[in-house]
């Protein structure tokens, strides 16, 4: 991983520990190097704290391109090797539509419609479930 010092790192990414779960909240437009730094930080934090779950809240993210999509997938893959399960929470519908048309469906990524559902999913009794939680509009 190269350390690009050419530009300022835009914004900080807060990483909160809630019991056995790390909660990472992404906001706005992420600089590439911020995303790469986050990837590294999360790996170290997961290993250091021994948490069993990781929730990445992207409800404040207006765009996920193939670079950020790949970063999310790699964070989940690393966490998995470090014995933590990852749930990406709150993806906006416009972002999901765009990712599919782009051809990036991220099949390995577990998702939930909100952080709350993601936390339930990680605490839940059915770890094999790939369900993202109940959808509001389902009837």
């Amino acid at each position: 991983m190269n350390h690009d010092l050419s530009g300022p790192v835009t914004g900080h990414v807060p990483v909160l520990r809630l019991g056995d779960v790390l909660l990472v909240t992404l906001q706005g437009d992420l600089h590439d190097s911020t995303a790469q730094q986050l990837q590294q930080d999360i790996g170290e934090t997961v290993a250091g704290t021994g948490v069993s779950g990781l929730v990445i809240d992207i409800s404040g993210v207006e765009m996920v391109d193939s670079f950020l999509g790949r970063v999310l997938a790699e964070i989940a893959a690393r966490a998995s090797l470090l014995a933590a399960r990852t749930v990406v929470a709150g993806m906006r519908p416009a972002v999901a539509i765009t990712l599919v048309e782009l051809g990036l469906t991220l099949p390995g990524l577990r998702t939930a419609l909100s952080t709350e559902v993601a936390m339930d999913l990680l605490a839940g009794s059915d770890p094999a479930s790939r369900s993202g939680g109940p959808r509001q509009e389902s009837r």
Binding site: G7, P8, M63, F67, R70, A94, T98, L102, G103
Partner: protein, 146 residues
């Protein structure tokens, strides 16, 4: 009604910081032209992919944006150009799964699906120019017409 001010611009693509400005400008311009949220998100994502291509494969370049009018419909044209090595095999580059270099990006094929009109002009050793157009109104119109 907004005028073209705030829409027409030329932005450098020299670092990953510039990618942030490119995305912000495209989002803002698409918003001014009345793009819906989904079309706006698609165009911003396409711009991000193409600008990263310009940076990674073209060695840097620029994006020019221009507001368009077709009857009552307004659109946005984005032109990404670089003086890089060019794309040796365009057919392959437009196919799915094609990557070169460090494998970032879904390539041109992914970006093409996110916009209404798409054209590439690439000459080996001279450079590459990718032009895309999206319209605020989703009604179908002939492709390849700029």
């Amino acid at each position: 009604m907004e005028t073209a001010a705030g829409v027409d611009a030329c932005l450098p693509i020299r670092s990953d910081m510039d990618l942030v400005w490119v995305r912000q400008h495209v989002r803002q311009a698409a918003g001014l032209l009345g793009f819906g949220l989904v079309e706006q998100t698609k165009l911003v994502t396409a711009a991000s992919e193409l600008a990263r291509n310009t940076l990674v494969h073209g060695g840097g370049g620029r994006m020019e944006t221009a507001g368009l009018t077709n009857g009552h419909t307004r659109g946005l044209r984005l032109t990404f150009s670089d003086e890089g090595p060019g794309i040796p095999d365009l057919e392959r580059a437009l196919g799915d799964g094609y990557t070169s270099g460090d494998g970032l990006g879904m390539g041109l094929g992914g970006a093409r699906r996110l916009v209404h009109e798409f054209a590439v002009d690439s000459t080996p050793g001279v450079g590459t120019k990718v032009t895309v157009v999206s319209w605020a109104d989703r009604s179908p119109r002939p492709r390849g017409e700029f």
